[in-house]
Every structure is written in structure tokens, then in C-alpha cells.
Amino acid sequence: MKIECTIDKITQTLYVNSNKPLNLILNEDITSGRNLSHCDGDLCGNCIVMIDDKVVLSCLTPAFLIKGKHITTFEGFRKTRFWHDIERAYDDTHLHPCSHCFASKTLIFESLLKQIKKTEVIHHHGLDEETIVGEMRLNTCACLDAQEMISIFKAAAAYRRKRRVRGN
């Protein structure tokens, strides 16, 4: 099947099987191949990417659903300004995910930050601790405990709110 899509802002024309999972496409079929996990049904949560700015598990996304879509991997996300909010949160808290799950956990943080409503500029981010920890546990790597995840999120949310106030 011929699939045209954008991966990290580069237009790609791929010839892959229609039911090939997106994570395998990213690992095998693009020039600068990624190294996303493929746990084969073990629910590792370590293959997160963004499709049209929506965070998804790439192992559950077949090729035929990415036609015309904009896919952003962690490598692409790192080039955006939104990454800096999370990067600074890691630096400020002296905490960060391990190298194995860094990419996926960062994108899950980003999916949580996207949920911060624009109206909640000054006040509480609107996400409770249960939700934050529950969402982060989609990725099963146990390198961060609950308090650490909450600390990183709160720090990143503060930077994201300031960015919203500045209007960029």
C-alpha cells in the first residue's frame, strides 16, 4: 500500500503493508529510522508518538490510518518550543526518566500538559494527582515513583502556563 504522510515535518511516501504497525514503520521504513519498542502485546507503553498533535500508542496504529497525517516522534518533538517546558522541569527537579523510556514518558507528560485548559492560567492546572500518576503508568518502566512524576508535571505545568500567558 502506498502511504503518504509527514513524519517529523518531512513528507514521506511509504510502500508498506496496510496493517503494518506504525512503530515498525518508524523503525524500519524511514531513512533515519527510530528505535521504538515493539513489545508484541506486553503493553509496555514505550512506543508513544503524536499523530496530528494527539498522543497515541504507535504499536496499535496500522499503516492505513496514517494516510495524510502528521506524525511527530520524540525526535521531532524535541525541536518544538513545548519540549523546553518539560526539559526545564527535568532540570529544575533534578529528576528525569531513564534512557529506556525517556521519549515515551516525555510525550505522556506532553499529553497531560495539553489538557491544561487555557482559562486556567494562574490557578491550579485542573489535573489531580491520581490522573497524573494513572496516565504516566501507561508506560510500565518503574524509573520514576508517583511523587517524582507529580513534581515533574507541576514544574512543567508552571512553565506551560507562563507560555500561555505570553501567548506563544
Binding site: M1, V16, N17, S18, N19, K20, P21, L24, D40, G41, L43, I48, K54, V55, V56, L57, C59, L60, T61, P62, F64, L65, I108, S111, Q115, G134, E135, R137, L138
Partner: protein
């Protein structure tokens, strides 16, 4: 010369009529809703068994709607779990809301569809139990003959006692509806992750309607994800008319009846831990019913 595996042809109908045409062309298709269960199977890709043509249901507008009238809330089978949650706690029955919330994270729920979850061939998940306890109905559209038909059936008729789906080839679930009659008491519990350890997991959903401490209606659904889907009818008969709080003897009797029934149905396919967990979950639900009943006095 080696040619690898054939790329399955993907049919993407946009309406029911296009769906009928696609089904008539493809004798044994793989129906794709969200595709999360299919793609999560061990060794799904690449393999020779994953080459049958795909009919993607996600583009059919009739399957994407959420509607309500004064009696029912109706949602199309392609509505994602996350979309359903966004309908809100005030509208969705609590039992269904709890079951959906416990089904993965927001990211996974955005990719899972209600129809996809309900129609897995032999793996029952949390939502199935909640819908059964709420006596939900499903609309089944059949394309087996030249003239497609549709009918509403209670969801319990969609599954055998062993959990296997009774849906035939060329049949799809198009809609699901739940009544707005709010349950007076609901209890939902899941022991162990039904995706990771289905052979040890237990899912219990209970809906109870009572008035002035007298039970009018009681529905319980017990699920062992890969071996049991049980709605003990005798329990409803036992409980109707019973006064809350239930005595210790009554609780013991209920537990005994259900455990005997599920052991008879599932036989060798269940583990010891599942029986023990089921027993405890049932007891806990009845204690919770007592607690709520007493608190309201």
C-alpha cells in the same frame, strides 16, 4: 522468488450501504474498529494469518453518533471510550462510567472503541460487565442476505456463558443503548489486569434498584476474561423483594449459589484464584449494598 506477505486490501466504507457492498465483496473480512485488540495480539505482524482483507468501520457516520432521548442513551459502536467519558458523569450511568475509567489511560481510551471492546471474539473486558449489569441493548446489523437487517438484542445474548461471542460472520454491532433509569446502588470491581493476566482476573459489575430498603431489581455480571461471562438469573429471582440489609446467612447463600453456578459453567477453564476472588468480590458487593442501605436510614 520469495514475495513476503500480501498487503491486506482495506475497505473504508463511509455509509451503511457502502458497508453492505464491502461485505458482499469480501467473504471473510477482519472488521477493524479502533484495532487496538487486534494489533495487540502476540505475533500479529508480520504473520501469514494477518493478511485477510480489512473492513474499517471507523468512517461510517451512523456508527459515530451519541444520541439521547428521554428513555435511552444511544452511542454508535465506533465512539471511543474517551468520547463516551466526555459525555459526563451526570449522563452516563455510574457503573458504566467507572468501568470505562478503569479501562486504561486516556491515551488508550482514545484509541479503543466501545464496539471494538464489546465485539472481541473471546476476551471479555470491563465494559462488557457494566453494560450487562445495566441490561444494555445492542443493535446488530446483519449483511448475510441481500437485504441487510437490524435488530436490538440484550447484550447478554451477545455472549455465551463461556464468554465467546455469538455474533456471526457478516454481522456487526452498530449501536449500543443504555436506559436512563439510574441504579440506586452500583458496584464495580476488577481484580488483576484482564489484559495482562486474564487467567487470574475477575470483573464484577452489580446494579441494584431498591425502594425503601426493598430490592426491586438486582443484576450481577461476573466475568473471567477468557472463560466466563455469567449473569446468574437465579440471583435476580433470589434478591427481588429482599429487604436490605442482608443477613450473614443470606450473603453466604447468595455466594454459594453463584459459585456453584460458575464452577458448573466454566468447569476446568478457571483457576482457583479466580473462584476465590469471585467469592470475595461478591461478598464485598453485598457488604457495600448493606452499608449504603444502612447509611440511608
Amino acid at each position: 522468488m520469495f514475495e513476503g506477505i500480501r498487503s491486506p486490501t482495506v475497505h473504508m466504507p463511509k455509509s451503511l450501504s457502502e458497508l453492505a457492498q464491502s461485505i458482499s465483496r469480501v467473504p471473510d473480512p477482519t472488521f477493524f474498529a479502533g484495532g487496538t485488540y487486534i494489533m495487540n495480539q502476540k505475533g500479529y505482524y508480520p504473520s501469514y494469518s494477518s493478511h485477510s482483507d480489512i473492513i474499517y468501520l471507523g468512517g461510517i457516520s451512523e456508527f459515530q453518533q451519541i444520541t439521547r432521548n428521554d428513555k435511552y442513551l444511544e452511542f454508535g459502536s465506533i465512539v471511543t471510550l474517551q468520547q463516551l467519558l466526555s459525555v459526563g458523569k451526570q449522563v452516563l450511568p455510574k457503573l458504566l462510567y467507572d468501568a470505562i475509567e478503569k479501562t486504561g489511560t486516556a491515551i488508550t481510551r482514545s484509541q479503543m472503541t466501545i464496539g471494538g471492546v464489546v465485539c472481541i471474539k473471546q476476551h471479555r473486558l470491563l465494559v462488557c460487565g457494566a453494560l450487562a449489569a445495566l441490561d444494555a441493548d445492542v443493535e446488530i446489523r446483519s449483511f448475510r442476505t441481500n437485504k441487510p437487517t437490524s435488530k436490538w438484542v440484550p447484550i447478554k445474548e451477545l455472549y455465551k456463558n463461556t464468554g465467546l461471542i455469538t455474533l456471526k460472520k457478516q454481522e456487526v454491532v452498530s449501536k449500543i443503548r443504555v436506559s436512563f433509569e439510574k441504579e440506586t446502588f452500583s458496584y464495580f470491581i476488577t481484580a488483576q489486569n484482564p489484559m495482562i493476566k486474564p487467567e487470574e482476573a475477575v470483573i464484577l459489575s452489580v446494579g441494584c434498584w431498591y425502594n425503601q430498603s426493598v430490592i426491586n431489581q438486582f443484576r450481577m455480571c461476573i466475568i473471567f476474561p477468557i472463560s466466563l461471562f455469567l449473569i446468574p438469573e437465579e440471583l435476580s429471582l433470589m434478591m427481588n423483594g429482599t429487604i436490605i440489609p442482608l443477613s450473614t446467612l443470606q450473603i453466604e447463600k447468595v455466594v454459594k449459589v453463584i459459585i456453584e453456578k460458575l464452577s458448573a459453567v466454566a468447569q476446568d477453564d478457571i483457576s482457583f484464584i479466580q473462584i476465590e476472588r469471585a467469592k470475595r468480590c461478591i461478598e464485598a458487593s453485598l457488604h457495600a449494598l448493606n452499608a449504603q442501605g444502612l447509611a440511608e436510614r
